[in-house]
Amino acid sequence: MLRELTALTRREFLKLARNPQAIFTSLLLPLLYLLLFGQGFNINPASFALPGTPPSVVQGIVLAYFRGAPNYYSYFAAGMVGFVAVTATLFIGANVIFDKLFGIFKRTRGTPAPSAAVFGSRLIAGAAQPILLAFFVLGLALLFAHVPGLTGLQITASIGVAGATYIVLAIVLLSLMFATVFLTIGILLDVPQVYFAVVNLINLPVLLTSDALYPWGSMPTWLRNASQFNPISLAVNVLRETFFGSSYYPYPPEIYLLGLFAWTAVLVSIAILLVRRALRPLE
């Protein structure tokens, strides 16, 4: 099993490395969002405060509006991690469908390689991309703080080893979860157009019912409540709470991680059932 998994994973990474256009565009998308969208929406709610309002009150408004973040950009940069987890995993399933169309998947299915190796290799390579991109996003957002004229990610809490671990766990779990979902859909479907139609029915509602991009203070109550169960929100809450402190979060990051783990466990379990059936040795 391990040799089969290693061989197929190697193949996936070789293909990834041989596709510089895809790497470039996967980096370009978050870069544009960080550079344009995040900067463009970097509204300071304190600017609406009445003249003479004490600075501590103004600061309190800002912190409450952005759940402890000192500005929208810092709040948004953490949300971008959730955003790239969705967008960077979209094509994983499409690649399976193209491999089916070109006979490459047929070749793999004609070998005794276990379905776990076939699925696992694509999952590892597929999840690696959003994980790496998430750290690229965070690094870039931190770097912007040193670029004149740009706002950057300002971390106001002490992260520590536990915090760093939580961040890594949140990113890994979220990436694995979305990679599993889109990979499973790709294995179950055979037509690219149908795949993208189905995927769009998932990624947009999931992204837009999370608090990844909206300022917390501007969200209506019903959306805030709904977003608390959203896996993207759960992961982003772990990051924000670690970056900006726990004052504006009802639960500690461990609880959000637990929620995210539950989502991942449930979806991976469903995926295993479906994929085992779809990739059984004899059709």
């Binding site: 596709n19 490459i104 793999t108 004899l282």
Partner: protein, 339 residues
Amino acid sequence: MQTDGAIVAENLVKVYGGKVRAVDGVSFNVAPGEIFGFLGPNGAGKTTTVSMLSAGLRPTSGRAMVGGLEVSHHPEEVKRRIGVIFQESTADGDLTGRENLEVAAGTYGIARSEGRTRANALIAEMHLTDAADRYSKTYSGGMRRRLELAVGLVHQPKILFLDEPTLGLDPQGRAGFWGYVQKLRKETGMTVFVTTHYLDEADTMCDRIAIIDHGKIVAEGTPNELKDKIGGDVVTVKTAPGAPDMTEVIRPLAGVHTVQRQDDSYRIKCTSGETLVPLAVEACYRVGAGVTGVTVKRPSLDEVFLDFTGREYREEEGPSATDRAVMMQRVRGAIGGRR
């Protein structure tokens, strides 16, 4: 039915959707070391049969034994014992020839160092050394086929399934490919099960042949046995347009076995074409039917195919299969090898 062959099919049936009987009670036995040809028009059930034998598809009923194992009970072990060369190219265009082979070896659980050794040996064997480190999407059709064959052999199978292996190759490429297969059979005693688009290949390369039509085997034997079943020569007499029906005029002539009319043409199976031609021409003129053409053929597999299925093989099989191969090549080119 003997059950000690390398490949044994016993009353294999595959029904799709409860209605379509794609394979309808197929039985045959392929001896170890034999090259067995499986011929049939599009939709006859060839690929479905190959899929059931190569552990890709579960039969609705019947039994398939490959390498001594029942396929339905041991699909993964069967996959370890067989090599399959698919009709379409399955090599990964974004990987080099060497990488394709190394990855293929890994999927059979072969250690990386051993996989590398086998890849190098196969690259040399298939004369791909100069192209081994080029992306396989840059390979010519013949090189791709040789790479496919190498991929199918990397785990050293004892039984090889070839599904239209030389489709789209020029005569030189076809000859080269079959040269490798013959060499393999000679050196390793490998059993080869082949479906081919080219009847001349089946005629010269296969020890035995089965013809499948509408899911049933309609003929089986060595190429010579099948030709003998037709019985002697085939004479085709073409009469002038508007001539009367000559069937009953020709049928009583000496040496005639059967007469089939197709418009103004009469396909006559007879003991000796040379003897029949003057008799047939004279008979036609005697009743006022002008003769515009006469041909005499020694039986070929095309004739055998026509005789058993009632259809011309090349008209059935050629254009669609070739078009598909050309289309796939165009699509590959259009997307620049991106998967």
